[in-house]
Amino acid sequence: MTQYILRRLLLSIPVLFGILIATFAIARLIPGDPCTAALGERATQAACDAYNLRMGLDEPIYVQLGIYMRDVLTGNLGDSIRFSRPVFTIIIEKLPVTLELGLAALTLAILVGVPAGILSAVRRNSKVDVATMVAANIGVSMPVYWLGLMLAYLFAVLLRDTPFWLPPSGRLTAGLSSIPFYRAWGLPISDGTFGFPIFEFLSNLYILNSIITLNFKVLFDTIKHLILPAVALSTIPMSIIARITRSSMLEVLGQDYIRTARAKGLRERLVVLRHGLRNALLPIITIVGLQVGTLFAGAVLTESIFSLSGVGRSLFDAITGRDYPVIQGFTVVIAVGYVIVNLAADISYAFADPRIKLD
C-alpha cells in the first residue's frame, strides 16, 4: 500500500510539471498586455519598459519559464503584479473560502445525489425514478450562473422578510467578524511566527474556526451565507452523482450475489444497502473525484455571483487583469488539489474492492 502511494506520488510529478508548463503558456497566450492592464491604456512606452524590466517580463519566454519553475520548486509563487503581494499570501487568504464552499457543495451533492440514485435504481421505471432522473437532467443542464442568480433572486429578494430569507452575498453579515482561534485563545502568534500561514489558513475556514472557538453566532451566520452558493455549485455534481449511482446500482442489483443475499433471508433494505451499495461504490468514488474539477470550475462563477472572495473569484480577476503570477499560482494550487483528490480516490478503491490489489 505504502509502495503504491509512493509510486503514485512520483507519477504525479510529471503531471504537475505538465500543468506548470501549460499554465505558464496559457497565461501568456491570453491576448492583452500586462503593462496596459496594470498601468492603464495611456501608459508610456518608457513606463511600460520599466514595468516589464521590474517584473522580469523583458526576458525571453523560455527564461521566464525557467525562472518560474525554479521559483515554484523553491516554494516561491511570485508576487501579484496588481497587488504587489506574495501570491502565497493571497492563496492562504482565498483558498479557505473556496475550500469551504467546495466541501459544502460536494457534501450536499453526495448526501442528496447518492440516496436519490439508489432510490431511482430500486424503484426503476416508477414515478419516483422518472422524477429523479428528470430533475437530474435539468440539474446537469442548468448553467451555474443562471441558477445562482435565480436562487439569489428567489431567496434574497422574493422571500425577503420571511424566515426563508437567505443572504445573497459575502461570507458574514456586516458587523460580524470571525475572530481567529489563535487570537481567541490568546496564543502568542502573529505575522512572522513560524507556521503562521498554517494558522492563518485554518482560521480562515470560518466554519472550523467558529466551531473550535464555540462562536455559534458566527457559525450560523456563515452557514446561512453558504447555503445559496453551495446549492448553486452542487447541482451539476449532484445530478451526475445521482445518475452514476443509479446506473451503477442497477447493474449491481442484477448480479447473482444479490439473488444469493435475498435467498439467505436478508431484508430488502439490507440487500440494497449492504450488498448492493458496497459494490456500486467504485464508479461513484471515481465520479466524485472527477467532480472536484467541476467544483473548481463552478467556483469561478459561483464566487463571482455571490461576491465571495475565494480562489475562483480571484482567478477570474487575475485573468482579466493579466496578473500572470496569480493565475499561475492559483492554477498550480488547483491542479495539486485535483491530483491529490484523485490519488485519494484511487487509494480508496482498494478499500472498497478487495479484488483491486495496489501493489
Partner: protein, 353 residues
C-alpha cells in the same frame, strides 16, 4: 389442508407445488415461463427437476422462494411448504423462510458470492440474519466449522479469503456451507455443477448427497444432465416449456420413461462404447413461450404423434395423469378424451385433476 397427491408410502410431502404459474410481462408479450406446474417433494428425498434450457426450471425454483423480480410475477397456483401456502404469506415475511427453512444454491458459484466480503462473513451473515442475538465470534467459529464440514482445506484462513481467491469448486462448497448453515428442511440446488469441471462436479454432488443423508434435508436438484439425475435423484420431474410432462421414480424414468420427450432425452445420451455416426437429438426447438400452441407443447417435435397419427395433440392440452402408482405423465398416448382413445395405456389411467 391435506396434500392431495401424498406419496404412496404415506410419507407426507414437505413441499407441494400446485398449478404454479409465473409469467413475465415483457414488452414483446407475456412470457409464460412456468405455466401450471405440479410436483411434490417428500421429506429427505432428492427430487430431480430435468429439462432443457429455458423450460422454466430455474423460474420454478425461484418462485418457491418468491424471488421473482419484475417484470416476472407469480400469477397463480399454490406452494405448500409443511402445509402452509407460501404464496399467501406477506412477501416481507418470506425472509423467515429463506435461508433458514428453505435455502438455495446456484449455477455460478463465483458470481453468487459477494466479491467485497470475506467468505467467512458471508456465512456469518446467515446466522446473524436469523438469530440477531448470536455473538459474532460464535457465528464465526460456526462458519469455520461449516467450511471444514464442506471440505475446504485450512478453513480458519480460508474464512478470511475473498471469493475471487477461491476456485469454482471451493466457491460452490462455500455456497453449500451457507445454504446448510441452519440445516434447512429443503435445499434447492439450481444446476449446482454446471459451471464446474467434471472431477469437481462429482465431489460437489457427493457432498450434497452426504448432507442430504446426514441432515435429512430434502433436495430439489435442478439439472439438464440425466447423468446427474441417475446418480443423485430418488424421483424425477421432467419439465417441458413451462409444464411438468412426467413425474416418476428415477428407475421408472430410465426403464420406463413414457413421455415421448423423456424418451427423446434418454435416447440423446451418448452411450459409452457404442459407435454412433451421429448423436441422437430431438429435432425442432422449444415453442415460443409468448405464443404457445393450444395443444400439447411438444406436439410439433413429437415422433410418437406422427407414428400414431394423432390429431388431438395439436388441438387440446393433455392432463398430467397417474398411469401407474407414483408415475404421472402428460400425453395423449395415455389419456382418453371425447372422441379419442389412448393408443397406449399401461394399466388403467385415472384422471389426476
Amino acid at each position: 389442508m391435506p396434500a392431495k397427491s401424498a406419496a404412496p408410502n404415506g410419507n407426507a410431502p414437505i413441499l407441494e407445488v400446485r398449478d404454479l404459474k409465473t409469467y413475465f410481462f415483457t414488452e414483446d408479450g407475456v412470457v409464460k415461463a412456468v405455466d401450471g406446474v405440479d410436483f411434490y417433494v417428500k421429506h429427505g428425498e432428492v427430487l430431480g427437476l430435468v429439462g432443457e434450457s429455458g423450460c422454466g426450471k430455474s423460474v420454478t425454483s425461484l418462485s418457491i422462494l418468491r424471488l421473482i423480480d419484475r417484470p416476472g410475477e407469480i400469477v397463480g397456483g399454490e406452494v405448500f411448504f409443511e402445509g402452509e401456502n407460501l404464496l399467501d404469506r406477506p412477501l416481507d415475511s418470506m425472509v423467515d423462510i429463506r435461508g433458514d427453512r428453505i435455502s438455495m444454491i446456484f449455477q455460478q458459484p463465483k458470481s453468487s458470492l459477494n466479491p467485497v466480503f470475506k467468505v467467512g462473513s458471508q456465512i456469518v451473515e446467515v446466522f446473524q440474519i436469523h438469530d440477531e442475538k448470536m455473538d459474532k465470534a460464535v457465528a464465526w467459529e460456526k462458519a469455520v466449522a461449516l467450511l471444514k464440514r464442506v471440505g475446504i482445506p485450512d478453513p480458519e484462513s480460508k474464512a478470511h479469503a475473498y471469493p475471487h481467491q477461491l476456485s469454482g469448486g471451493q466457491a460452490q462448497r462455500v455456497m453449500i456451507a451457507m445454504a446448510m448453515a441452519l440445516q434447512p428442511e429443503l435445499l434447492i440446488a439450481d444446476e449446482p455443477t454446471t459451471a464446474l469441471d467434471v472431477t469437481i462436479q462429482a465431489q460437489i454432488l457427493d457432498l450434497i448427497r452426504e448432507l442430504n443423508h446426514e441432515t435429512n434435508t430434502a433436495v430439489i436438484l435442478i439439472t439438464h444432465d440425466l447423468g446427474v439425475i441417475a446418480e443423485m435423484a430418488d424421483r424425477v420431474a421432467v419439465m417441458y416449456a413451462g409444464q411438468i410432462v412426467e413425474e416418476v421414480s428415477v428407475e421408472g424414468l430410465f426403464k420406463n420413461g413414457l413421455h415421448p420427450y423423456t424418451q427423446g432425452l434418454i435416447k440423446s445420451i451418448p452411450v459409452l462404447g457404442s459407435v454412433q455416426e451421429q448423436l441422437n437429438t430431438i429435432p425442432g426447438s422449444v415453442p415460443n413461450l409468448i405464443d404457445l400452441p393450444a395443444g400439447c407443447r411438444f406436439a410439433s417435435r413429437c415422433p410418437a404423434r406422427v407414428e400414431h397419427g394423432l390429431s388431438i395433440c395439436e388441438e387440446h392440452m393433455p392432463n398430467l395423469l397417474e398411469v401407474a402408482p407414483g408415475h404421472e405423465v402428460r400425453c395423449w398416448l395415455y389419456e382418453d378424451a371425447a372422441g379419442h382413445t389412448a393408443p397406449l395405456k399401461p394399466g388403467k389411467g385415472k384422471k389426476k385433476k
